[in-house]
């Protein structure tokens, strides 16, 4: 796969004033939520550029989250692959074990400034839920986390962690009982409790301003990584790789590199049991533009417009939609989106665990698997940076189960 010569994308200018990334994004919600979204947008425009807010956010990221996260050369793993050098951006070392907390500390600061007294959130893998629960505890705010029943089962350790952090977990039994249904239920809660409640969306999805707000809070990943590369390597990597569910860790890493035209960007969706099987979660690779959860973006829906059930071994990628900015970046050919299937992700999980002593999240394992492919193509001169978006402790049960099934996990 050659490094494609992509057109530079203006990093600023999207979204436009009405929250659109080209034809994507926007604010497709019931009327009741229009006023609170306008209120949130006003707070985002007012506080994000504010130096006092930025100072407080910087302190939170340093002292509570533990930033900056390291840039780590996976030397043994790279050698075993026989190709490019692979560096890992260690978001797994962030407090609560994933990049999600970069966003929750920022949104919580906004909530406090807006005088909101209650936090709600949706969660898939549970990483965003845990980050919200921890952040809410730190601010003394009650926190309610919506989680699909299927996800509470496969991510049981995170359910316990959220409870220990004082959050109330609401199990969602409607629809497919996964992340999309948790999001529906959180939106219903917000509609009913709109005056006092702040809804912390965990990805670069949802109605405007969430895709832009969450992006702004996650770009700390890419800013740090870019600086670390220049300082340590004296140059930028040839390629960046990140997994894409809703797409917040990918946007966070990619965004500060969008103008660096020599850096190829790869977003990896969940191929599940294969695109042909229909059992996957790859809207950018197999879907079409549609409207769900407040935004227009690529979406997996059938000919009648009903949202399709998805499958991924990784709960955090098991979502039929994707953030609207990814749709925009796909159409502009600035990011190349591909898929990695369950089995290949599990294989990468084991490879990193054994070669580097790092248990990666199954979400991040998709990015690792893709980087392994790229490493062979780029050869020993190549430099690849992978966003290791989360740690894998929450996935042990799934990985062990996958191994127990003959042929399922290589």
């Amino acid at each position: 796969m050659p490094l494609h010569d992509s057109a530079a994308v203006a990093a600023s200018g999207v979204p436009d004033a009405s929250g659109h990334f080209g034809p994507y994004g926007g604010r497709f919600v019931a009327e009741t939520l229009m006023a609170p979204l306008a209120e949130l947008e006003a707070a985002w425009r007012r506080y994000l550029p504010d130096s006092e807010f930025q100072r407080e956010l910087r302190d939170e990221l340093r002292d509570f989250v533990g930033r900056p996260t390291p840039l780590y050369l996976a030397a043994r793993w790279s050698r075993s692959l026989g190709g490019a050098r692979i560096y890992l951006k260690r978001e797994d070392l962030s407090h609560t074990g994933a990049h999600k907390i970069n966003n929750t500390v920022g949104q919580a600061l906004l909530a406090v400034r807006m005088g909101k007294r209650r936090i709600i959130a949706e969660t898939g893998a549970g990483q965003h839920g845990v980050a919200c629960a921890a952040t809410a505890a730190r601010h003394g705010l009650p926190c309610v986390v919506y989680m699909g029943e299927e996800d509470t089962r496969r991510q049981a350790p995170n359910v316990s962690r959220m409870r220990l952090l004082g959050a109330e977990i609401v199990t969602v039994n409607s629809g497919s009982r996964t992340l999309k249904d948790a999001l529906n239920e959180a939106l219903r809660d917000w509609v009913a409790n709109v005056d006092e409640t702040f809804y912390i969306i965990g990805s670069v999805a949802g109605p405007h301003p969430y895709p832009a707000l969450v992006r702004d809070l996650q770009t700390v990943i890419g800013r740090e990584a870019r600086e670390q590369c220049l300082e340590r390597l004296g140059r930028l990597p040839h390629a960046l790789v990140a997994c894409v569910g809703g797409g917040s860790n990918a946007i966070g890493l990619f965004h500060p590199f969008l103008e660096d035209r020599d850096v190829a960007l790869y977003g990896v969706e969940a191929g599940g049991l294969g695109l042909d099987s229909g059992r996957h979660a790859a809207p950018l690779n197999s879907g079409a533009p549609g409207v769900l959860h407040g935004a227009r973006s690529y979406l997996m829906s059938d000919a009648d417009g009903q949202v399709l059930p998805t499958h991924s071994i990784s709960a955090g990628l098991d979502y039929p939609g994707v953030g609207p900015e990814h749709a925009w970046l796909k159409d502009r050919c600035r990011v190349h989106y591909d898929v990695v299937e369950d089995a290949e992700a599990v294989e990468a999980f084991h490879a990193l665990s054994r070669n580097e002593g790092i248990l990666p999240a199954l979400e991040s394992s998709h990015a690792l698997a893709y980087a392994a492919r790229l490493a062979r193509e780029l050869g020993p001169e190549g430099i690849i940076l992978v966003n290791l978006s989360g740690r894998g402790d929450k996935d042990l049960q799934n990985v062990l189960e996958a191994q127990a099934v003959p042929g399922a996990a290589a």
């Binding site: 926007g26 497709f28 019931a30 009327e31 229009m34 999309k180 009913a192 005056d195 079409a288 417009g305």
Partner: protein, 277 residues
């Protein structure tokens, strides 16, 4: 543009000093074959305008009752195409009662705005209310609706500001649907006093446009309480629940629908008369 069924309906009711009864049912629930008989029965029982819900997999503005009915209908394969077919069938026996489709945007996007509007018009639909399409995103579909003489019904909520109400009022056609509470359909926290005050402001902002009130109206008492405040009352979740219960008991949902509408009609008319006297 000729006067459509919705406008004609509200004009007639205004002349008679009566309020419109608008029942909502989800197409395809409690059974695919029962929807058209239910619509006919609602009209027999005194409904003035019908709201037909288009099932969607992710009805994020709806409470458990309508979510459940949507899920059941989808299991029977009832999507937008099937709903339009039901409207066509209904029109074979009723060319007078206005009918509004209520649903979410993605099925319409997937069919394509122009094709949807053409098919809806051909089937005999009079208006369309897309729950997750606020004013700012409504432009393209509204233009297509208008080209086919279909009304674009929109929502207003307790969180909608006066300035925004005026903007919505200029863009809506048919009627404005005022959501009486902060919550999803079928909520239980309706407060009549607060709604009364809010609706006076709404009325001042939208002029003569017909005003329907809905969300959280459970029974005849609720209908009677809200009747004086607008031009129409919408009853959804309570009816959907009633029909599902009838089906579970092995009774005729159509008969239940007619009885339900008759009860609501009586409450509405008696409230209108009390307002007069």
């Amino acid at each position: 543009m000729s006067v459509g069924r919705i406008q004609e309906c509200f004009q007639r009711l205004a002349a008679e000093r009566r309020k419109a009864l608008i029942p909502f049912v989800t197409a395809g629930d409690p059974g695919t074959e029962q929807t058209v008989p239910i619509l006919q029965a609602l009209v027999s029982g005194g409904a003035d305008l019908l709201e037909l819900g288009v099932p969607f997999s992710d009805p994020m503005a709806d409470g458990p009752v309508i979510q459940g009915s949507s899920e059941r209908a989808l299991k029977r394969g009832v999507g937008l195409r099937a709903v339009l077919q039901m409207v066509s069938t209904f029109r074979e026996t009723d060319c007078r009662t206005p009918l509004v489709l209520m649903g979410y945007l993605n099925p319409v996007e997937r069919m394509g705005h122009a094709e949807f509007c053409e098919r809806a018009h051909a089937a005999g639909v009079d208006g369309v209310l897309i729950v997750d399409m606020p004013l700012e995103e409504a432009g393209p579909l509204r233009a297509e609706l208008r080209a086919r003489q279909l009304d674009c019904v929109m929502l207003a909520a307790p969180t909608t500001s006066a300035a925004r109400l005026r903007r919505i009022g200029r863009q809506v056609s048919g009627f404005l649907y005022y959501v009486t509470l902060k919550g999803v359909t079928g909520s239980t926290r309706l407060q009549v006093a607060a709604v009364t005050e809010a609706l006076q402001q709404v009325r001042a902002c939208i002029g003569a446009l017909p005003l329907a009130v809905g969300f959280g109206i459970k029974n005849a008492a609720g209908v009677a309480a809200l009747a004086p405040l607008g031009d129409a009352v919408v009853v959804g979740s309570a009816l959907v629940d009633n029909l599902a219960a009838a089906a579970r008991r092995g009774e005729s949902p159509a008969q239940s629908a007619e009885d339900f509408a008759r009860t609501m009609r009586a409450a509405l008319d008696s409230a209108s008369r009390n307002q007069e006297s």
